[in-house]
Assembly symmetry: C2
């Protein structure tokens, strides 16, 4: 029995129509290093999406491996309720510096669970404070925050929501977000023309909202959309004025993706909650975290019999192996000045995607920030139902890049430390993959 | 600044009232091996609850470390959508043998997310099959399935639910479960006297249920309660008769805890979904899995444009490091005949807890199966509000055991391979911890 047959006998792959694998089987991974996946036939494939946006320092980073090996000599995992672990303290101290003021850290494993924890904390404070009227959550149009039921409820993704509609919770989606193509877009600095419409929507819920949740600056699964930093700034002012919590889902954007440790820094705002995941361990191990303020923390801090405890449990909260890697990730990002290098690389990524557009004449709405660049395929009406993005994916894989479009949105979201020559190859592969898709 | 002060400055520990740590600080972990935690002062503490029920082979198991080091030489993590990874195939082939017929495996990281995935799959099949009327979920009284919102909705835990009541989803809780003290209890073999009442409840929802979810045989956080295998058998017959899915949450019971690979084996039943977590990696790394049948899988299997895909995504689905460890765990459990050894150890655990009861005269309702033994503290009315369980915990930690009661339920849930002499120490510590609690 072939490896593929064995795979498809038992593994239900995530985010997949399994029948698709009949015609285009999964690629056989042998090793991975830097920005490359090496297949069992020796072929090298560029990991152009950092394995679902998580491998921010690429594969097999030696210092991260060393950190794992150091920790495993002591222990791998100990319950974090009622224990004190130096590796977790060091990590937490570093995380507490990311956004001054947000210095309390709660650990989980999945990104979606960090989102659920932040929302539970917000709703729970309302209960403790007797703010019975504040029970609603607002998210943005085109949002994505994960696929556990609560996370899915606050995600504006019809494709993912539709089968579970009867079970989803009611959430308000803010419309009319001022999207931009880059920081050069005038809307980036001033979205005043959009604001009255937005404020009208917000004001309706000023007294009933517990929290507003956003993916700061970049919305990922919703189509790699970038919005005005001024909008985020104004939204934060509005939430402060009306005592509404702001939750920043930095699971994709966090730790350098947009050229700063946090995407919130573009708008110089401090939210009430920050959720981290994916790149927190540079995609080595599942770990997520919720950062929040002492103010929020203190609301729950009281004698046990007052009934204010936040009793959320998670077996692997603060897993020591993941913590050791996350700590090393934060050190490397700083020591190697990765944030700054991403800002420098931004222009190059943009230039290369423009070259793809010029060469293929098949891309529109190019947009980018930090180490993210995306564009939509130009489709004629008869092509709109042909899964062109999926064809580009198939062609790209054959040509040597794991480029995995979101529908018909092509994007690169490579390791932050990807080399120039790899980016140049990626550009060539993208051009060919698009040209092959539309050659007829 | 002391280690404890640094810890409490930044870490929000799970399932904790943080103020409790002022008077009883977290214990400082230095290393962990076998059934022991070693503290920074050199003291050894028995991990009597397997670090929240996950460290089934104890800490630092050498072959598991070796498996981790082997995998890290190849790669640590690659996106599992569109890739084929031998380590995941080998793991999936082994998992597919656990319960013949349940041979499709979907991977996540947190236990609660495995639960949410199984429920989403059940509800989604109803949508695809046009069974619009089947939208309800039923769980058992005293159930616990996790704390993401959907998992919490199907958990009958008032303490955890209360702050989020307005957001919880409506779920039916089946009452009148035939609890037993052990397999010797006549109800274990025949719960016929309880069944008519149960069947009456079930029949009301025969046409509207999508699924019933159970922790098979043992309910963990609900109080380490054990119920009749005959009840589980009858429940399975009823679900088959009425085309209702049965979801088995084996996150705590799975991989040996009750003396078999799966607790479902006590009732010789085959559910539609099995959720695994915790012990799947012997508590090394976060990994969870949903096993299901080809029948369920085939309902989603069609051309992409039919819109039947199960598009749930999770970044770390099938993480290679966790998979390498899980594969090794399964091999060790078989090769070292751990399941059989747990069945042999069951009597000893029970005998030791009876000795604690006899010596202290403070335990009632002793119940046990496999490597789980629990009992409730006998309390006078004025003691019921005194957090006696928490006092037992504090005393036990000082005496050298991390024994962490559920309220006033004392339990041992040690590594499956705990040594006899460690169990004997645990017994002595438990006796002293209880006596000290009630000495006045």
């Amino acid at each position: 029995m072939t490896l593929i047959a064995r795979d498809l006998s038992h593994i239900w792959h995530p985010c997949s129509q399994m029948k698709d694998y009949e015609k285009f089987p999964p690629i056989k991974i042998k090793r991975a290093y830097g920005s490359y996946l090496e297949l069992t036939d020796g072929k090298k494939v560029i990991d152009a999406i950092s394995s679902w946006w998580c491998k921010s320092l690429g594969h097999g980073y030696p210092e991260l491996k060393a950190a794992l090996l150091r920790q495993v000599e002591h222990y791998e995992h100990v319950i974090s309720a009622n224990t004190c672990q130096e590796i977790l303290i060091e990590l937490s101290e570093k995380l507490a510096l990311l956004c001054p003021g947000l210095n309390k850290v709660f650990y989980a494993s999945e990104g979606a669970c960090a989102i659920e924890i932040a929302i539970k904390m917000s709703l729970h404070t309302r209960k403790i404070m007797g703010e019975q009227g504040r029970k609603q959550i607002m998210a943005l149009q085109n949002s994505y925050h994960g696929e556990t039921l609560l996370a899915l409820s606050i995600s504006d993704m019809e494709l993912y929501r539709e089968p579970y509609q009867d079970w989803l919770l009611p959430v308000i989606f803010l419309q009319g977000i001022p999207y931009v193509t880059s920081e050069i877009d005038p809307l980036w600095q001033d979205c005043g023309s959009y604001w009255p419409n937005i404020e009208d929507q917000l004001n309706q819920y000023a007294d009933t909202l517990s929290a507003i949740i956003v993916e700061p600056i970049v919305q990922g699964a919703g189509g790699m959309l970038i919005y005005s930093q001024d909008f985020l700034k104004r939204l934060r002012s509005w939430t402060l004025k009306h005592s509404v919590h702001l939750i920043a889902d930095e699971i994709m954007t966090g730790l350098g993706r947009t050229g700063y440790a946090l995407a919130c820094q573009h708008a110089q705002i401090k939210p009430d909650f920050i959720c981290l995941g994916k790149g927190l361990t540079s995609g080595w191990l599942p770990m997520s975290a919720v950062l929040t303020t002492s103010n929020i923390y203190q609301i729950f801090y009281d004698d046990y019999d007052k009934g204010k405890s936040f009793l959320h449990s998670h077996t692997f909260s603060g897993n020591a192996l993941a913590a050791a890697i996350a700590l090393e990730v934060l050190k490397i990002l700083e020591e190697k000045q990765i944030y700054q290098k991403v800002r420098e690389k931004q222009k190059l990524l943009s230039q290369l995607m423009f070259e793809v557009a010029q060469s293929t004449q098949r891309l529109m709405r190019i947009r980018g920030i930090g180490a993210i660049i995306s564009a939509d395929l130009v489709l004629e009406s008869h092509q709109k139902k042909q899964r062109c993005g999926y064809q580009v994916f198939q062609n790209a894989v054959k040509l040597g890049a794991l480029l995995r479009p979101l529908g018909n949105t092509i994007y690169w979201l490579p390791p932050l430390n990807i080399e120039l020559k790899t980016l140049l190859s990626l550009k060539e592969i993208t051009i060919q993959a698009i040209n092959q898709t539309f050659k007829n």
